[in-house]
């Protein structure tokens, strides 16, 4: 079996936002309203003179136990055998229950207006109906044997893509070792996005 996962190393993310741009073009996200499938948060951490900058990329965690899927009444949100949590645009009625259920704020609404604007912005918009949207780990690329756009474009190699069920896979090893940790594991969602936290270093 394959269980896809992403590893994000906060030590090597330089905050260039190339991943956001690559994702937006690949997945035609509504950037005109500053909404992204993946977003790199630019943070200042510390107090007084001891302040440093940290870049914190976020996206859908493709949780193994996704609350967004449980609440979806139409079956639009579904999970593939390889762990990807996807949305069937045709089934989604846009009730928003999934957005309410997601503890990571990974989802956003696409309105009728967004569909109209998207046609103007991207020319040939693939999505035809409004509803909810989120990162799909670039399922279309994975199925074609490629990596997600954000991973492929990352200049700092801060994003790596792998298979949790492959004992030789670097991402799987980092996750199993505990060096890489998911966000808010106490919620029981079992995210498939792992982070390597920054090393403590002198400023």
């Amino acid at each position: 079996m394959t269980r896809y996962a992403m590893l994000i190393d906060l030590n090597t993310c330089v905050g260039c936002n190339a991943c956001m741009a690559a994702c937006a073009i690949e997945n035609q996200t509504p950037v005109w309203k500053n909404v992204w499938r993946t977003y790199v948060h630019d943070q200042e951490i510390g107090i007084g003179d001891d302040v440093r900058r940290r870049f914190f990329p976020r996206l859908c965690n493709h949780c193994e136990n996704p609350p967004c899927l449980t609440v979806c009444p139409t079956g639009a949100t579904y999970q593939r055998a390889d762990g990807l949590v996807l949305i069937d645009d045709n089934l989604c009625m846009g009730c928003g229950a999934c957005e309410m259920a997601c503890p990571y704020r990974a989802r956003y609404e696409l309105t009728y207006t967004d569909i109209r604007e998207g046609k103007v912005f991207y020319g040939n918009l693939r999505r035809t109906s409004p509803g909810y949207d989120k990162c799909n780990f670039c399922a279309q690329r994975i199925d074609a044997g490629r990596k997600p756009a954000c991973v492929e474009t990352c200049v700092g190699e801060a994003r790596l893509f792998g298979d949790l069920d492959d004992p030789q896979d670097y991402v799987a090893k980092m996750a199993a070792s505990g060096i890489a940790q998911p966000l808010m594991p106490q919620l029981g969602t079992r995210p498939h996005v792992y982070y390597i936290n920054e090393m403590k270093r002198d400023v």
């Binding site: 609440v71 009444p73 139409t74 989604c92 846009g94 309410m100 503890p103 609404e109 936290n197």
Partner: protein, 326 residues
């Protein structure tokens, strides 16, 4: 992973959603109570018609509100499909939609024979001609026959209970928010739905049924039931206070939002629970329905309960705290 966190309320399901939950719970519980009354306590056709129509308008209105807020209206067919509960049994909206749809149909059929007989309804301009059509008369006589009528009543009452419980279960299914993600929510919302329904029925019987002497016992019964429900609600709110103030960060921030807010303290707890509880207690203890006694306290208590029911849901939606990693 250790990260900083931010606390945020949500801006998606706001007051309009509280209205949906309120109308859904109140309408459904009203139907359940009136039909159970009609079947097992005292045959009361006028009350059953009132209950069904009020319930239909409220639940229908609430559902329309939810429909308006959908991003993709055409796709609603997928959740209206009765098979939705088989392929999505874990989604409460799927159950709620089915409960609501079937409850509306069954309750209309339950009161159809009563409406055909009712002199008031028979004189309404458009409805009277609809009720006289062959199809409707046929449906009415079929629905009114012994066992079928009872089955329709039990089915509507059970679905009504389902709708009331669903409004709480829906909120309970959001794990990030401690205020919602606990078994107290469905209990609180169900108790509140039935309490507001009792209040509404007391109001309807006082205002529209002319304080009929024959209904004195029934009114008293609703009042006693409401008293018990209000006491239960007060207890559950106290349990929520204990749980929230000693819980996770999400719970504690919600507790701060709620229990430092005068609207919640004075509006919901004070006006919506304690005041009607005391008014109804006084009425029940002193048997204050004697000759010449004013019914104002009873009517006021019912109005306060109805206001409190809405405040409960509005505050609950507003005070749900998400703890996001940043």
């Amino acid at each position: 992973m250790e990260v900083n966190v931010t606390y945020e309320t949500q801006h998606l399901w706001t007051t309009w959603f509280a209205v949906y939950l309120y109308l859904g719970g109140l309408g459904a519980a009203t139907m359940t109570i009136t039909f159970l009354t009609d079947m097992y306590l005292k045959s009361h056709k006028t009350l059953a018609i009132w209950g069904a129509l009020t319930g239909l308008i409220m639940v229908g209105g609430g559902s329309a509100l939810l429909f308006i807020h959908l991003a993709n209206h055409a796709a609603v067919v997928h959740v209206l499909n009765p098979l939705a509960i088989f392929f999505k049994p874990d989604a409460w909206i799927a159950w709620g939609t089915q409960f609501i749809s079937w409850m509306m149909i069954a309750s209309l059929l339950y009161v159809l024979p009563y409406m055909i007989e009712s002199p008031i309804i028979a004189n309404l301009p458009f409805i009277s001609s609809v009720l006289k059509t062959r199809v409707v008369c046929g449906l009415g006589s079929m629905a009114g026959s012994g066992n079928i009528h009872k089955i329709l009543g039990i089915f509507s009452a059970t679905s009504g209970l389902g709708v009331a419980v669903y409004t709480g279960l829906l909120l309970q299914s959001f794990p990030a928010v401690a205020l919602w993600n606990n078994p107290g929510v469905p209990i609180l919302f169900t108790v509140s739905a039935f309490s507001t329904a009792c209040a509404l029925l007391i109001l309807v019987m006082h205002i529209f049924m002319g304080r009929d002497e024959k209904d004195t016992l029934l009114r008293g019964l609703y009042e006693r039931a409401d008293l018990l429900l209000l006491a239960t609600e007060l207890l559950v709110v106290f349990l929520f206070y204990m749980y929230l103030t000693r819980g996770s960060i999400s719970a504690r921030v919600s507790a701060e939002l709620l229990f430092h807010d005068l609207g919640w303290l004075l509006g919901f707890i004070g006006l919506g629970l304690v005041t009607p509880f005391l008014l109804e207690l006084r009425s029940v203890l002193s048997l204050g329905h004697g000759q010449g006694q004013t019914h104002l306290p009873t009517v006021a208590a019912a109005v306060f309960v109805l206001i409190g029911g809405f405040l409960l849901r509005d505050y609950f939606m507003a005070a749900g705290i998400y703890v996001y990693p940043t």
